[in-house]
Structure formats: C-alpha cells, structure tokens
C-alpha cells in the first residue's frame, strides 16, 4: 500500500461527492499492519491485549481515531496521533489493536 494521504474532508465527504465507504467485514487489520499516513478508527482491542487500561487512559479505546505518523528508524515502535497527542507504542501491543481504515 502506498503512503496515501487520507483525510476525510478530502475523500469521503468533501465536495459533496456523496461517495461513502461502507466498512466491509474482514477488511479490518491491526495497527501493526497499517502503513504510515493512514487514518483509522479502533474497532476493538483484543481481550488478550496487556495493559488495556493504560492504553484507555491515553485515549486508545474502541471508537478513537488514530493517525499513523511514523515508524521508528530501527523498527519496533509505531508513532500514532491519538486525541491530538503523539504516542509511541510497540508493535507487539499494536498487533492486538484491531483497526478499520477510514478510506481506501
């Protein structure tokens, strides 16, 4: 997937184009899989995930919108913008966060 700029005002609802993207079952992927630049909404956090309370306290809860800002140079960390704050979390945790990209 290319690093497509994805902002809802531009593609889904802007210009009154009336192009809606209906989320399709099975299109979900985890936060660890999404490329940099994607905007996506958290669908659920897997029950096996550790530290779900800690994640919740910084706004990583189902329904939150995330922007994947960057991957760390040597791997491991993913930087996301959640509620206007940049947070870095590890791929292992990100793999337990199920996401739905907003636009294709």
């Amino acid at each position: 997937m290319s690093e497509k700029k994805c902002s809802c005002e531009n593609c889904c609802f802007a210009n009154n184009k009336r192009e809606y993207q209906i989320p399709v079952e099975g299109k979900e992927s985890t936060l660890a899989d999404l490329p940099v630049g994607t905007k996506a909404t958290i669908v659920k956090i897997m029950p096996k995930a550790r530290g779900s309370k800690k994640l919740a306290d910084v706004g990583i809860v189902p329904g939150s919108e995330l922007l994947i800002e960057a991957h760390a140079p040597f791997g491991g960390l993913i930087r996301v913008k959640v509620m206007e704050t940049s947070m870095a979390l590890h791929k292992d945790e990100a793999a337990n966060i199920v996401m739905m990209p907003e636009c294709e």
Partner: protein, 717 residues
C-alpha cells in the same frame, strides 16, 4: 482564618506543570522522594497576600489509575487528608485529553482550580472556550495561564487568592456517566457509606465506588473496602451483560463520552492549521534515514560544547586556586604551625580546588541535557533509539537515564524509575555506571590534552564515551539473554510537541546540579582530601638511603658545574628524596603493596593509590595525582601537573588510566544508590565486583597488546 495552605499541582505529563511550579516558587524548592517508592517529590513555598502557601508538584499522570508508580503516588497523595486545593494544570491546546484527568480529580470533591495553560498556543490554534459553561461543568473556577511567560501566571495568583478566600463556598461538581453506570456507582457508594469509614469523611465514597468499579488496584488494595467487593462484582457483571465492555476500560469510555459532550458545548475551533510546526520538525528529526545521523550529531555537539566552551572558564578557576594557595603560603610563614599550613595549601586547596575546576564542565553538560529534555527532543531520541536499544536488550525509555548517566550516575539511576518493567530497569541500572559520568570527565580533561595532539582531543574524548556506550550495550545484551529473560511491560511514551525551553527552568536545572556538585566538593571531597593528605604525608621519613642534604650541598658547592647543570642535578636529587618520602607514607605503602597486581595494566603505585582514593569520588583521581606528583618547596618553578604526567607516563598508559576509570565503579555513592534502588546489597556488590573484573581484564588486554604492538609506548615529555 487559616494562614497557611497546602496546594497541590496536578496534571498530565508535558502540560507545563513544572514550568508553572518554577514560576511560582522560583529557587525555593525542595526536591525529595516519596517514601517507599522511587518517584521524585517536589515542593516549594511562597507567600500570597500574607498567606503562606506550600505548593506540591505531583508527578505528571494521565489518569488516577495505578498503572505506574507515578499514578500510585498521585492516588495516595490526593487521598490523604490535609489538601486545601488542587490546581489542575490543563494543556488547553488539547482540552479533551487533558480534561480526562480532571474528570477524575473532580470526583475527589476537593476544591479545585483549573489552570488552562498554554493559552497563547491555544489561541493560535483557533480554540475558543466558553469558560462559564466549563466552570459550571466541573464546579471549579477556571483561569488562563501562560506558564512560559512571567506575566502568564499573574491571573493564576489573583484567582488563587480569591479561591482560597472562598474555600467554604466552593462548588461540588456533579458528573454523570449515563443512567446505568450512575446507578451502579450509587449502589456501591451506599454499601461503602454503610461501612462508616474514617477516610470517607474527606474523600467521598463515590470516588472509591468508581475506582472499585474500574478494578483499580490502588482501591482494591484498601483492606477496609474489601466487604463491598461482592457488590462491586455484581454491578460489574450487570454492566458487562448490558454493554459488553471490560470493567477495566468502561469507565474510560464513559469519561471520554462525557467529555466529548462537554467539549462540544463549550469549545469551538475556528480555522485549523493542517500540520503544526512541531510535526514539521519531526518529519526531519525522526525521519527514517536522517533521524539517526542527526541524533549522533546532536550528541557530538553536546560533548563538543561541554568540553570546548567550558575550557576558558576552567582556566580562570584554576588560576584562582593557584593564586589562593600561593597567597596563603606567602602570608603564613613556614615556621608557624607548618603542618596545618601544608594541610590547607597542599591538601585542601589542591584537592578541593582540583575538583571545583571542573564545575564549568558539569554546568555546561547539564545545561545541554536540560535543553534536550525540555525542548522535547529527549523523547524523540528514545523513539529513534528504541529499536537499537531493544536489540541490546534495553528499551527506548532506558535511553534517557543512560544519557543522564553522562552527567552523574546517581540521578541517572534514579531516573530509571520511569521504566515500568522491573527487568529492563535492573539491566539498565547494571550497565549505567559504564556511561561515562561527569566526575570522570576531569580525568579525561586532565589526560587528553596532555597526551593527544590538539586536533585529536575532541575525537579522543568522544571515543572514550563511545567505548563506554558500546561496552554497556554489549553487557546489557548478554545480561538480557542470560539472567533476565522474558517479556517486558506495555510500552507507551508520549512525544510532546517541541517547545522552547524557558531560560528560568534551564537555569534552575543547572543550578540544582551545580549545587549538588559543590556540596559534594564541600563535604565528601573536602573530607577525603584531608584524609588523603594525611595518608600521603605520614609517616614522615627521617632517615634516607642516601644523605641527600649532604649531596645537594656538595652539588651546590661544586664549582665545575655550570649554573643549569647544577640546578638540574639538585632538582634530580630533590625528586629522588621526595619519591622516597612518598613511598614511605601510608598511601605509598598501600600503593606499593598492590603495585604488582596493577603492573600488568600499566599502573605505577601512584596511579594505584589515586584509583583507590577515587572510590570516594572519581574526580579525586585528579587531585590525588596532583598531590602525589607535587614537588617540594625547593622547586618553585614547578611545572603544571600535565607536564609532569607527560614525563612519567606513556600515552598508552594514560589511555589505560582512562579506560580503567571508565569501566570501574564511579564511586561509593553509586554503590549505595544501586543497593537502594534494587533493594539488594548482593546486587550492589555483584555490580562492583563485576565492573572491577571488566575494567581490569579490558585494561590488561589493551596494555599488553599496545606494548606488544608498540603503540603509544614512547614518552612524550
């Protein structure tokens, strides 16, 4: 009316809380520790309209849960009686996130004042607030502040005075989380009320009910609340059936939902910048390809600045102490209390002065570290380095303590407290002494200019630091692969927007460290200087292997010698005599006894004694070398210590001294802090012994190999 109040500052990390704290209390701060846990506590005092205010700066937290030691501290502090007011600092550029903590603080029903900080940034961002609505919502007055400007806290002070006057009439917020949850909270609170608990007199049962419903471990641990546990589980089951959300996170969901509602009604946004400046900077600074080289460059500039820019200042201090020693010697004739005179000039002034000389280095280093920390770059560095650190068995959060280790190992070990995973923390602490601390800097600063050509000096310095880093990383990797296997904790780190550090807080930071260094110079180093002076001077040798006095006389009477030849011969004899005297003293004997052990790594007895005395504080190595190489009164045109060292040691030996100092334990204080932080003497001694073996073996290999290959084995002087 009360004349003194206890006020606490609470807020998220990076909300500018500490800047406000600094602005209000200035340098009148007390930095300590919360008992039992490894979290720094800060308090300060100020007077407002004749009222004495004790201000406590709580650690920054996102929530009142207990997922970190900081959060536990905040929970404990806030539920203790005696708090008159909470000032909740809110980053008003990100209201929704910051107010999440506010919803929990509001449940404490302690009078609260909301400081909407960074008001200037929020305005730039186009955020408009309806403060009347918000005040009603949280039942607390709101004031806008700009912590980074002196005038920005005036409003806060005004409002604080007013609020403290009207504490009795302070409102109580009534937050609602939706009918089902409110019912559950109500049901549990009633059960708690029925227990008639002492602490519920100042913290409402409702607060505990909410905490129990979200399975908060701090609340669950309270013995007195155990009887209501059954009711809590019933309510959680009920909510789970109805809403299908885990107990741990449904309160979080409710708070976000509630805040979304509150913010929609009272906060509006006009015009939005697409990308903020901070994000633009990060496109370069944390770039996949540029990030790492930039990081290395920044580290290099840090050391260059510390080393090169502090140099002239160090010259002044050196001159001052030389002058002071001479002035005392000249004003105090040698026949009055000669021992005391010599103790003061040769022992104390040489010892303490030799260490204070490096104050500019320490100040400059901490100045740069403060800039890196307060600008927000430090967390970027952790982000960039995480992958590398993880490869070596550490993690991004180990990174900041490791950098602080360049300053002083003791506070750096304390800074490892931010690492939640005990395993990662232990490994970080164990390798931290290998990060070359500021006290070792004087050793390098003494030896490098003496033994390396001007153009290689900065490189040599950088090289020593790099050796320490490499050894530390390899050691961490080995430890993590053998002794400390397994999973770590959940990793989560905020990357705050870049901010301009305020001059005031940079100065405060520098002052703190400088003060610590001077205190050390005034206490431990002063005492050690006296002890070392005594060890270095006594017992005094009375009979020598030759009659030096007679030979010197003979030399001076010898008409065949030219003036310069005579001088040379005399000073040679003087030196021989001095050497014999020094060997006879306590430190000479200890050094001599241990010399065979250290000979294979290139040490002579003087370096051995200097290294042993350096256990009190590494910088004592320098003063001890100065004292041991000091020449007698006869030789007034005494060369500087560096010139003498060059005559005595080869560059290879000098490198070995530095290597040994780098790898062995920095000081006894480090040993004590390791024992405190890991709560085990065993670990502390394993650490000290392990480092000694590491230092000895490495230096042995380098010295023997260097001698064999004839690298740097020629005397320069």
């Amino acid at each position: 009316m009360k004349t003194s109040y206890r006020v606490v500052l609470a807020g998220n990390p990076n909300c500018g809380k500490t800047t406000i704290f600094n602005a209000l209390t200035g340098a009148r701060q007390h930095v300590g520790n919360y008992p039992g846990v490894t979290v720094e506590s800060k308090s300060g005092n100020f007077v407002l309209n004749g009222i004495n205010i004790e201000l406590i700066d709580l650690p920054g937290v996102y929530s009142l849960s207990s997922s970190s030691p900081e959060e536990e501290v905040v929970f404990d502090e806030l539920t203790k009686p005696g708090i008159d007011l909470i000032i909740n600092v809110v980053d008003s550029t990100i209201p929704q996130r910051s107010l999440y903590l506010t919803t929990q603080l509001a449940e404490l029903h302690i009078p609260m004042l909301l400081a909407f900080n960074m008001a200037d940034d929020a305005e730039k961002k186009g955020l408009k607030y309806d403060f009347q609505k918000l005040e009603k919502y949280f039942g607390s007055p709101i004031v806008q502040t700009i912590g980074s400007k002196a005038s920005g806290v005036q409003n806060l002070l005004k409002r604080l005075a007013k609020t403290l006057n009207e504490l009795e009439d302070h409102g109580v917020p009534m937050l609602t989380y939706g009918a089902d949850i409110d019912d559950a909270i109500q049901a549990v609170s009633e059960k708690i009320d029925a227990l008639n608990l002492e602490f519920c007199k100042y913290i409402p049962s409702r607060f505990y009910a909410i905490k129990l419903l979200e399975h908060d471990s701090s609340a669950m641990r309270i013995e007195a609340l155990k009887p209501v546990q059954e009711e809590v589980e019933v309510q959680i089951k009920h909510l789970l059936d109805k809403h299908a959300i885990k107990a741990e996170t449904f309160m979080a969901d409710c708070r976000y939902a509630m805040l979304a509602g509150a913010c929609r009604n009272s906060i509006s946004k006009t015009g939005e910048k697409r990308r903020e400046i901070s994000d633009k900077i990060d496109l370069i600074m944390t770039n996949k390809f540029l990030g790492f080289p930039l990081f290395l460059l920044i580290m290099y500039v840090t050391f260059w600045f510390t080393f090169t820019c502090a140099d002239p200042l160090m010259g002044y201090i050196e001159t001052f102490f030389d002058w002071l020693g001479e002035a005392i010697k000249n004003g105090w004739s040698a026949d009055k209390l000669p021992y005391l005179r010599s103790l003061i000039t040769d022992g104390i002034i040489k010892g303490v002065g030799g260490v204070i000389v490096f104050l500019p280095n320490i100040l400059f280093l901490f100045f740069v570290i403060a800039i890196l920390e307060e600008s927000g770059y430090m967390s970027r560095a952790a982000f960039i380095m995480d992958g590398v650190m993880r490869f070596f068995g550490l993690q991004g959060k180990s990174f900041v303590p490791l950098v602080l280790g360049f300053g002083c190992t003791v506070p750096a070990i304390m800074a490892t407290r931010t690492i939640e995973s005990q395993r990662d923390r232990t490994v970080t602490i164990m390798v931290l002494p290998l990060m070359s601390c500021g006290a070792r800097l004087p050793i390098y600063a003494l030896l490098i200019p003496a033994f390396f050509a001007q153009k290689y000096q900065a490189f040599a310095m950088w090289g020593i630091y790099v050796i320490g880093i490499v050894v530390a990383l390899v050691a961490a990797r080995i430890m993590k692969g053998t002794l400390f296997k397994g999973d770590g904790e959940v990793y989560l780190m905020e990357l705050p927007p870049y901010r301009m550090p305020t001059f005031k807080s940079l100065m405060l930071h520098m002052w703190d460290r400088g003060k610590m260094y001077l205190q050390k110079a005034g206490t431990i180093i002063l005492a050690t200087s006296v002890i070392l002076y005594i060890c270095n001077t006594y017992p005094v040798k009375k009979s020598f292997s030759e009659d030096y006095a007679a030979r010197i006389e003979a030399c001076q009477a010898d008409a065949k010698l030219s003036e310069s030849e005579r001088k040379k011969a005399v000073s040679e004899l003087e030196n021989k005599k001095n050497a014999e005297m020094k060997e006879y003293t306590v430190s000479g004997r200890v050094g001599k006894a241990l010399e065979p052990v250290f000979r294979p790594i290139g040490f002579d007895w003087k370096v051995v004694t200097a290294s042993i005395s350096a256990l009190a504080a590494k910088e004592i190595f320098v003063s001890q070398m100065g004292i041991l190489h000091a020449e007698g009164e006869a030789n007034q045109e005494s060369a500087t210590l560096r010139e003498k060292l060059v005559k005595h040691y080869t560059p290879l030996q000098a490198f070995c001294f530095m290597l040994f100092s780098l790898l062995s334990i920095p000081c006894l204080a480090t040993l004590v802090i390791i024992r405190k932080e890991l709560n085990s003497w065993k670990m502390a001694f394993i650490e000290a012994g392990g480092l000694f073996l590491l230092a000895y073996i490495s230096t042995f290999i380098v010295y023997q190999l260097g001698t064999f290959l004839k690298i740097g084995t020629k005397l320069l002087g």
